[in-house]
Symmetry: C2
Subunit: 350 residues, 2 copies
């Protein structure tokens, strides 16, 4: 399978495209034709005050956010809210290395930052939907990075915010972990500096990349308690071979590297000369920071330390042995907890 | 530099060699000429009841155990104890892939298990030194695996035991982490199935292997608190380039793989048809299980769960942001804590 067969409407849709035209990037490059892929659920009300924006995490698309987080009876209820899920640049649905033609695509795709995504999302929200305020921005992992960026960059636009299992300023440890992910791919001779012909030629590197997620993405308890059994797998090897490895093996290596580079450099303190407290102090959204107790690379104490710098914020911790990938919602207990935290936040007047 | 220039008396000595002759292995192979490298400190007393045996961890040799753990005024005090540090098979000083001649060495080196090491060490202790009892067996990480194996295999031979930051039965999570270490090396085209000419040809794989240690071997707090500064490094990159990467880059890839395979399969329940509680229930040594609070792959709760299965044992937890590699003793607070725990144990009559 080629990556072009993976990032399809059939697999990830329905989604729409919004064309932003040429889009200048913080690092100096330009996306000649920047398109954001998005999916919407529910209707904007007359007061235009029921919009929720959901950015995506590393490797994720709008589809998984829909499947895991959105539905009637869920906190993100399309019968009450207008929910706008926006695919991050580089994720394969929005403008990405693999869908940008030669010679600007592939390994020549320019460096993109979290701030670029949020500026593009702001244009989508305002130009396409005429929004003036978001009732909530909520996202996990790199989606949390984008959530923080929204709150700091557009403080008056965000009424409520719920960054889940992510940080406002990426940690050094996280940077190193992400580098091991990138090197798992780039060290594959078939990667050829990004000039592979078919993404699946890089299968060995993609598989090693997936296995690193097996170590850091779950938790020691996930394996001790054999939580994979509940998901129908017969062994750890079975879990890796039929879940984690296939999950990543269809993706495009240059897309993943684009997102990984961005992830490494997520940092709202760029808005305040490196002063994180000053940046987070600007936030006016009613912010609830949500951590996952067993997260190995966005650990609760890192999330907590940032929450304490945000005026009027609070903190919740979700208990699940599924660790960071608890975000995938495979643990029903995760779903119950995250929904309770989000529902409570949404019901607060601001 | 070739691995032959790394594993030298100059770098790791003085050490002695004890020849065990042909040595049959649990997995079915035979080491044609099995030699254990060891170093001793202090004198055996007349009662022959002051002997302490110290096995080595993954990648470590007797030298680092001497430097970090042994000295007058330390718990392992050579003025009071006869301390025997034994290098594990495959570590580069004892019989190992790199020092075993073609065609039995290198990638053809047979599979070795923790139990093989402990049987070989038992012969060293009894044949060479005439010991009938060890006052203490103490080791960290794979040294803890060997400590547990000693206690279960030779319950009457071990008076006291202190496994530090390691487990009696390796966890699935640990198995996966070790696999990423192995794959970092074996995926390097220069590894050539283990048939490289010079170990440093595999520098790219060894460097990725070192960087994985940078993610899992320390802790998120190590980086958040910039603990590397106290060790004299100017940045995380400086810490990796001048500490972790050089530490591993002189080593022989086949040696590391031999140890990693062994580490993955450490399991005292092999003595009791897979029943861990039964195996640990056989222990008669006064056992103190010591964990490191921030250890990312031998986490405290895993150590604690095993301790609770050992009759008359107790548990101590060392607080240090240096995580698993706290074993290296770079944090003075680690040294103080581990010495206090070991001194207290040694002073207990058994």
């Amino acid at each position: 399978m080629n990556a072009h067969d993976y990032y399809t409407q059939e697999n990830h849709g329905p989604y729409q495209l919004h064309d932003l035209g040429p889009f200048e990037l913080e690092e100096g490059g330009t996306l000649t034709e920047c398109q954001l892929a998005y999916a919407t659920f529910g209707e904007l009300n007359e007061a235009r005050d029921n919009a929720i924006l959901v950015p995506t995490w590393y490797s994720g698309t709008s589809k998984i956010m829909e499947e895991v987080y959105i539905g009637p009876e869920r906190a993100l209820d399309p019968t009450r809210y207008f929910i706008l899920v926006v695919n991050q640049i580089g994720n394969g649905l929005s403008t990405s290395p693999h869908n940008t033609p030669f010679p600007e695509g592939g390994p020549a795709f320019p460096r993109v930052r979290i701030g670029d995504d949020v500026r593009a999302q702001y244009r989508l929200a305002t130009e396409r939907f005429g929004l003036e305020k978001l009732a909530l921005v909520v996202g996990g992992s790199m989606g949390a990075q984008q959530t923080y960026e929204w709150c700091v960059r557009y403080p008056d636009f965000v009424a409520r915010a719920a960054p889940i299992a992510g940080t406002a300023r990426n940690s050094e440890h996280d940077f190193l972990f992400t580098r091991t992910l990138m090197e798992a791919i780039t060290s594959d001779p078939a990667f050829a500096g990004g000039h592979y012909r078919e993404s699946t030629e890089v299968h060995a590197g993609l598989r090693r990349h997936a296995r690193l997620w097996g170590v850091m993405g779950l938790s020691t308890e996930f394996y001790q308690k054999e939580v994979w059994r509940a998901a129908g797998f017969s062994s750890v090897e079975d879990f890796l071979r039929r879940f984690l490895e296939p999950y990543f093996l269809g993706m495009d290596p240059n897309n993943l590297l684009c997102m990984a580079w961005k992830w490494q450099r997520g940092d709202v303190s760029r808005h305040s000369q490196g002063d994180l407290a000053a940046a987070l102090g600007r936030i006016r959204a009613r912010t609830r920071v949500i951590a996952i107790d067993e997260d190995m690379f966005f650990p609760p104490r890192d999330c907590r330390a940032e929450q304490e710098l945000i005026p009027g914020s609070d903190y919740r911790e979700i208990a699940t042995p599924t660790g960071h990938l608890g975000l995938f919602g495979t643990d029903p207990a995760y779903i119950g907890q995250v929904d309770a935290h989000l529902r409570e936040l949404l019901d607060e007047p601001v």
